[in-house]
């Protein structure tokens, strides 16, 4: 499984040279002559990869494309590679979350290192996102009643309080609670709270009267 490198550069000669080199290094490569071309064929998160982006390209510039991709919630890390780096542009790009900011000409080992770092980060981001997605799927399996119970449990309510709040018996709550633990595949209350934290769910005070 090889990572996908997306090269955006208006210089055809450089695109070819870099494509050639990265392919030799074992990457799969896609090239784009402008920001518009990349946006038209926006790559998803399915595969680990990164974007190697020139700062000065006709039409939408590199930093402008970076902002646009953030808006589109793209997780692809961006390695800037430019002929001329001025401080303002560099700072702006790094603040906006650029993985690296390199200047041409650059030894390919250096560039490949940066690309590897970016790809690794993308993989991490992607795996984190996969875990959350599965937790979200577990949570979605809860019945509305069970979800209510879940929210109150992670707020630290005991069964009697929950029964009182939901207007039912303590025994019923106990059964719901068991169901929730089962469905969320946790053994302890602490685990359940941690999941709620990560998913930012069960916000206390939202549904619970204080």
């Amino acid at each position: 499984m090889h990572a996908y490198v997306h090269i955006v550069d208006d210089d055809a000669s450089f695109r070819t040279a870099l494509e050639r080199r990265l392919k030799l290094a074992g990457y799969r490569v896609a090239t784009y002559a402008s920001a518009r071309q990349l946006l038209d064929r926006l790559p998803g998160d399915e595969e680990a990869g990164c974007i190697v982006l020139d700062v000065r390209i006709p039409g939408m510039s590199g930093p402008e494309l970076q902002i646009r991709l953030n808006e589109l919630e793209s997780t692809l890390p961006i390695v800037f590679l430019t002929g001329h780096a001025d401080t303002a542009t560099t700072v702006q790009a790094i603040k906006a979350g650029a993985e690296d900011f390199l200047t041409k000409p650059i030894a390919s080992e250096q560039l490949i290192e940066a690309i590897n770092r970016a790809v690794a980060r993308h993989e991490l981001t992607r795996s984190q996102r996969t875990r959350l997605d599965s937790l979200r799927a577990l949570l979605a399996r809860l019945t509305p009643r069970e979800r209510q119970v879940f929210d109150l449990i992670v707020c630290g309510r005991i069964n009697k309080q929950i029964a009182y709040e939901l207007g039912t018996t303590e025994r019923t709550i106990k059964a719901h609670r068991h169901q929730v633990m089962e469905k969320m595949q946790v053994q302890s209350l602490a685990e359940l709270v941690s999941i709620a934290e990560r998913l930012n769910a069960g916000a206390p005070g939202g549904q619970v009267k204080g």
């Binding site: 208006d10 000669s13 080199r21």
Partner: protein, 614 residues
């Protein structure tokens, strides 16, 4: 009555007191003088004698003196009967006119006066003038006679002839018979005695036609010595100076003369007797006698009435230089020189010339200074233009770096790829070949960027060359393309089909184009989209080429259209305001024009017109 006696007594007393001591006893003579000319007073020589005399008498103003004159005309008339009749005529004429002193001009006149004195003026003293030494010796006048004795030497005339004619061999004496001559008759003996080394031809007493015929054919190295002719031998009489004119008209040799009045008719000059001096000297003696001095106390003496005087025009004719003349010579009838003739005009002309010269010198100086200033201004303009180019280059530096690093990046990456491929067990040589050709292309690209950069930053002195404006435009636009694309500006260039030959500095003209295009880019910086620059070249008539740079920006406020070319006018936050001002300076130095206007469809357009090279 008693008063009158007293008055006359006083006058006598005064006269006695004023008179010289030795003459107090003498009684004052009547203040009148009778001048007896031996010749005709109307002849120029005797006239001058009389003028000298009269002037001296007039100057003697304290006692007015009456002058009577009689011309005896002895050259032409003679004989006992004539003289006797003349004596009687005088006796009758001056019966009632007391004469204080008789002045006899010439030895012949003196002889006559001495003869007549007992009858006509028994107590009257006689003053002679123009009496030659030999005549004086011959006459031995008594004590009541006084006067100035003149000395005329033939050898002087010969020495002058020698001065006038180098290697003189012959002198020719031209004149009347010696006996008829009144002044020079004494030369007869001197001539007869001869002068060593000089042949003397006597052409004396000949008829005028003979003389004229002979003087026209005289040998070389000869000179004529003229003594005076009074008649043509056929009964026509004339003053000797007139006769000289006839001789001089024909003579082929210079004529040495011995009387001042012979200079003008054609004598070259010589030791001449000056008649006015003789007259003046005689008058002085006569007046002293009239004032009461006794003639015994005023004995005859030699006087100096001879001067070396020469005729300048004759000197020219005979090529006689001033240096060869006797010392102290006076030169007459000099042609007035140009300066003498046109004195005021010459001064005015000289002044005008001087003023003009000064003016020209001043103007030349001015021109020199202006040249210097122009050169300095041009140097400064060159420097400023260079600074502006550097500033432009600074502005463009990021795009230049970008443009340069682009090929360099490609080259490095390609080289590494090739290395990798070649390191593999089965290298794909076809790919390596492709890589190398890419490297070559990128290398050329990089060097092209550097060449353009260098041509912009070259610090060259202003020099005009034959250039093609289309070519300059193309290069400038190529140079600007990366910058334009980085700034999201579409630039287009439309060049005229024909070449536009102009004389100009290629670097500076490109700088103008660069300034205009960068300026347009700056003007459009705040536009979100649609940034366009169009460059155009075209021929305007047969005389000029026009470049226009139009943009799609906001245009220039109408009231600022002229200000934008002023130095330090800027609308940019970081602009110096020298770009357009330098552009216009450069264009003016190329005898061109640069102006701006707004397009009807929006945006500004700059026009640059340059004269086409012939």
């Amino acid at each position: 009555m008693g008063n009158a006696i007293r008055l006359s007594g006083l006058i006598i007393l005064l006269a006695t007191l004023l008179s010289p001591a030795g003459l107090r006893a003498q009684e004052a003579r009547p203040h009148s003088m009778l001048v007896l000319d031996q010749s005709d007073r109307r002849g120029p020589f005797y006239y001058q004698v009389f003028v000298g005399l009269r002037d001296a008498v007039s100057a003697h103003s304290h006692a007015p003196t009456t002058i009577y004159t009689e011309s005896l005309d002895l050259n032409r008339f003679g004989g006992e009967a004539y003289q006797e009749s003349f004596r009687r005529f005088l006796e009758t004429k001056y019966r009632d006119r007391p004469i204080g002193v008789v002045v006899a001009v010439g030895a012949a006149a003196l002889e006559v006066a001495l003869r007549w004195r007992p009858q006509l003026w028994p107590d009257t003293p006689i003053v002679f003038a123009l009496v030659e030494e030999a005549d004086f010796e011959r006459l031995r006048p008594p004590a009541f006679v006084t006067g100035g004795i003149v000395t005329l030497k033939f050898e002087n005339a010969v020495s002058v002839a020698r001065a006038v004619v180098p290697d003189l061999k012959t002198v020719v004496i031209v004149g009347a018979e010696w006996e008829r001559q009144v002044i020079f008759r004494n030369w007869k003996d001197q001539v007869a005695a001869g002068i060593p080394g000089v042949d003397i031809i006597e052409m004396v007493g000949r008829p005028m036609p003979d003389i004229i015929g002979q003087v026209a054919a005289l040998p070389d190295r000869s000179a004529i010595i003229y003594t005076g002719l009074y008649s043509d031998g056929k009964g026509n009489y004339y003053p000797p100076s007139d006769a000289l004119a006839f001789v001089a008209a024909k003579a082929n040799r210079p004529i040495v003369v011995s009387a001042e009045t012979f200079l003008r008719p054609g004598g070259i000059g010589g030791f001449v007797i000056v008649p006015s001096l003789i007259g003046a000297e005689a008058a002085k003696r006569a007046l002293r006698l009239l004032d009461g001095e006794a003639p015994e106390n005023l004995p005859p003496s030699a006087i100096d009435a001879v001067r070396p005087i020469f005729n300048w025009q004759q000197m020219q004719r005979w090529s006689v230089s001033e240096a060869s003349l006797p010392q102290g010579s006076e030169i007459r009838f000099r042609d007035p020189s140009f300066l003498e003739k046109y004195r005021w005009r010459a001064i005015a002309l000289a002044t005008a010339l001087l003023v003009q010269t000064l003016l020209i010198a001043f103007l030349l100086h001015e021109r020199h200074m202006r040249r210097k200033a122009e050169v300095e201004a041009r140097n400064q303009q060159s420097q400023l233009a260079h600074i502006n180019r550097q500033a432009t280059a600074g502005e463009l530096s990021s795009s230049i770096a970008h443009e340069l690093n682009q090929p360099l990046g490609s080259i490095l990456t390609n080289a590494e790829s090739a290395e990798l491929i070649l390191g593999s067990p089965t290298p794909d040589l076809q790919e390596v070949r492709e890589i190398i050709s890419d490297i070559k292309r990128d290398d050329l690209r990089a060097s092209e960027v550097i060449r353009r950069m260098r041509s912009l930053l070259k610090r060259a002195p202003f020099e005009k060359k034959d250039i093609d404006l289309n070519q300059s435009m193309r290069e400038a636009f190529d140079f600007l393309k990366p910058q334009a694309s980085a700034r999201n500006v579409a630039i287009y260039l439309q060049t005229s089909p024909q070449t536009l030959r102009v004389k100009g500095d290629p670097v500076q003209l490109q700088q103008v184009i660069l300034n205009l295009v960068v300026n347009s880019m700056d003007a459009m910086a705040r536009m979100p989209y649609g940034r366009t620059i169009i460059g155009r070249t075209e021929v305007n008539g047969a005389e000029s080429a026009v470049i226009s740079i139009s943009d799609s920006g906001p245009g220039i406020p109408q009231d600022r259209l002229n200000e934008i070319f002023d130095p330090f006018f800027t609308t940019k936050e970081q602009g110096m305001g020298i770009g357009l001002s330098i552009a216009r300076t450069i264009v003016l130095a190329h005898s061109g024009q640069l102006w701006a206007e707004n397009q009807s469809g929006g945006g500004a357009v700059f026009h640059l017109s340059l004269p086409l090279a012939a």
